[in-house]
Amino acid sequence: MTSSISINNLALSFGEIKVLKDLNLEINDGEFLVLLGSSGCGKSTLLNCIAGLLDINDGQIHIKGRNVTWEEPKDRGIGMVFQSYALYPQMTVKGNLSFGLKNAGLPKSEIESRIKHAAEILQIEPLLKRKPAHLSGGQRQRVAIGRALVRDVDVFLFDEPLSNLDAKLRADLRVEIKRLHHRLQNTMVYVTHDQVEAMTLANRIAIMRDGAIVQLDAPHTIYNKPVNRFVAEFIGSPSMNFVPGKLQTDNAPAFSSGDMHIPLQNYPFDGAGLNNLTGGHDVLLGIRPEHIVTGASLAEVPWSTTVEVDVVEPMGSDTLIWSRLNQQDFRFRVDGQSLLDKGDRVQIGFDPAKICVFDNTTELRL
């Protein structure tokens, strides 16, 4: 696979504040890469650097093998879609789509055919003569995507494009963007703080924190094997349960805390993690609410316990149960048809293949 965008040792500061720190990132050709993080983590800043809208302090940016570090945005072969749509208010939809092409000095016939093509793909042909003020939010964002589309570029940059839309429209447009990616097969870099968008759209997700990439992996890897506690907590809703305890290495590796004792034979340790640790090391056990085992499957897991139901939150398809384990809040999901009620006692089991163990001090996954 060839690399479409390659970022080497990129650094950027605003005055004294370092916004991006020595950042490296390779984005493959045709890949849908999502930059995910909470606000202020530098994800939008990174996207603006790729676009050339911000000048960087150090490092290099290559797009399609070409060093574009000092290039103007228009010369980088990119199209960009913004959160606020950024449509030119005084121009019609057609004017918005053709503005960039006219600046590039394209012949009229070429402009016409590109607009026609883009309008077809996005189903905005009836809107071409309207002004942005007379469009709905979803239509505006479609036009904004169209503006990137007509540029006929290899790289699309999305800066939180769905954040200004209501929940239903957001879900609809999300699917459309995915279809668009299947159809065009070009590189897309997509910034969002919404983990559902990230999980559903991405080939790979880059989770950012404090101007650096914490983990860069396929969505299922990020979900199943988060590199540290931060990623584990950030991804998944409701988020992972954490239970502090000790790692036993006497015979077989095991996690213990109070009367909890979970053997870790089936646990996929990462590389050298285990060998360097002595017995009795402080660790955190993490388990997602949806990975707790109840009912008939309890026989298959090596350890289980009984807890009392505290709060029941029915969500329709499933139900979230709040209880206490080792004097801490503990959440787990059961089937939506479950008839559990406050005060009921229920047996829950832990599957070692589905849990995560983190070093308590470094917070890295073992």
């Binding site: 103007e72 228009k74 449509l87 960039g100 600046n103 904004a144 503006r147 540029r151």
Partner: protein, 295 residues
């Protein structure tokens, strides 16, 4: 009193104490503010004999437009007796280029300060804003020397340049604040679309900033028309604007004072800004407030 069960709309008393005080205050204030306008109008429509008999408030018994004609056409400024029309046309000649030049420069400047900052741009802008508050008196004389060296002193161009200079702080602030409210993403989108400094200004920013241009025009038209100091210093006797001519007509000490002609001349001078004010309404308020509150 409470025999009726409260139902439906709550009854309101029109003549409550609060309303009497409130409207009383407003009406008395309104009378004070309207009085001078009324006095100007009635005086300008009376003949001199009638003025000598009555007082400033008495309405005209016999309406005459002769004072208006005289004020416009033949009132004496001390040296000449050509009326205000000379000053009017001088003011027009000063006004039009001054408004165009000052707004053109300030709008591009405000745009550059919002979207294309460069090293030192904020420093120069801060100095410019300070300049808005510095008394003109400190800069008047060196400017005379500079303009004399450029062979522009006592010409229309001298006044135009001075109006451009002293209008720059408030206008730049006005435009800078306006452009600062334009979403940055719009500017980014235009740059991705390959537009540069001038194209973004002319094709994206200009068409969407018509209201602020109207505000700037109102501000400048009234400000420049009402100017006295710069006109009297820099324009030269032949180019004196209307305000200077008016003052010369009214305060020239020769002959009998013709109060009706004076008031007609005063009204004539105030007419243009008044018309601008009444037509523009809320935009005028917005203009002076935008320049001031955000400063």
């Amino acid at each position: 009193m409470h025999s009726v069960e409260p139902t439906g709309r709550k009854p309101r008393r029109v003549l409550s104490t609060r309303n009497i005080i409130l409207y009383g205050f407003l009406i008395v204030a309104a009378l004070y503010w309207l009085l001078p306008l009324y006095v100007m109008i009635v005086t300008s429509l009376k003949g001199m004999p009638e003025i000598r008999l009555g007082n400033v408030f008495s309405p005209p018994v016999e309406v005459t437009f002769a004072p208006w004609v005289k004020a416009w056409d033949s009132a004496c400024t001390g040296l000449y007796c050509e009326g205000l029309k000379v000053g009017f046309w001088n003011s027009v000649q000063i006004l039009i280029p001054s408004v165009i030049v000052s707004i053109a420069i300030a709008s591009v400047n405000g745009y550059a300060l919002s979207f294309w900052r460069f090293k030192g741009s904020e420093f120069f802008f801060t100095v410019l804003l300070f300049g808005a508050f510095i008394p003109y008196q400190i800069m008047i004389y060196p400017l005379v020397i500079i303009l004399r060296e450029l062979h522009l002193f006592s010409t229309l161009w001298a006044v135009i340049i001075v109006h451009t200079i002293f209008g720059m702080p408030i206008l730049t602030l006005l435009f800078r604040n306006y452009f600062a409210s334009v979403p940055a993403e719009l500017f980014k989108a235009a740059r991705v679309d390959g537009a540069g400094f001038w194209r973004i200004f002319l094709q994206i920013m200009l068409p969407m900033s018509l209201p602020i241009f109207v505000v700037a025009i109102i501000l400048q038209v009234t400000g420049i028309w009402n100017d006295f100091l710069f006109g009297v210093i820099y324009a030269g006797t032949r180019n004196f604007p209307m305000t200077v001519q008016l003052n010369n007509i009214v305060n020239s000490s020769q002959g009998v004072k013709e109060y009706n002609v004076n008031m007609a001349a005063t009204l004539l001078t105030g007419l243009l800004p008044l018309v601008v004010y009444f037509i523009s309404g809320k935009l005028f308020v917005r203009g002076i407030a935008a320049g001031a509150v955000k400063g």
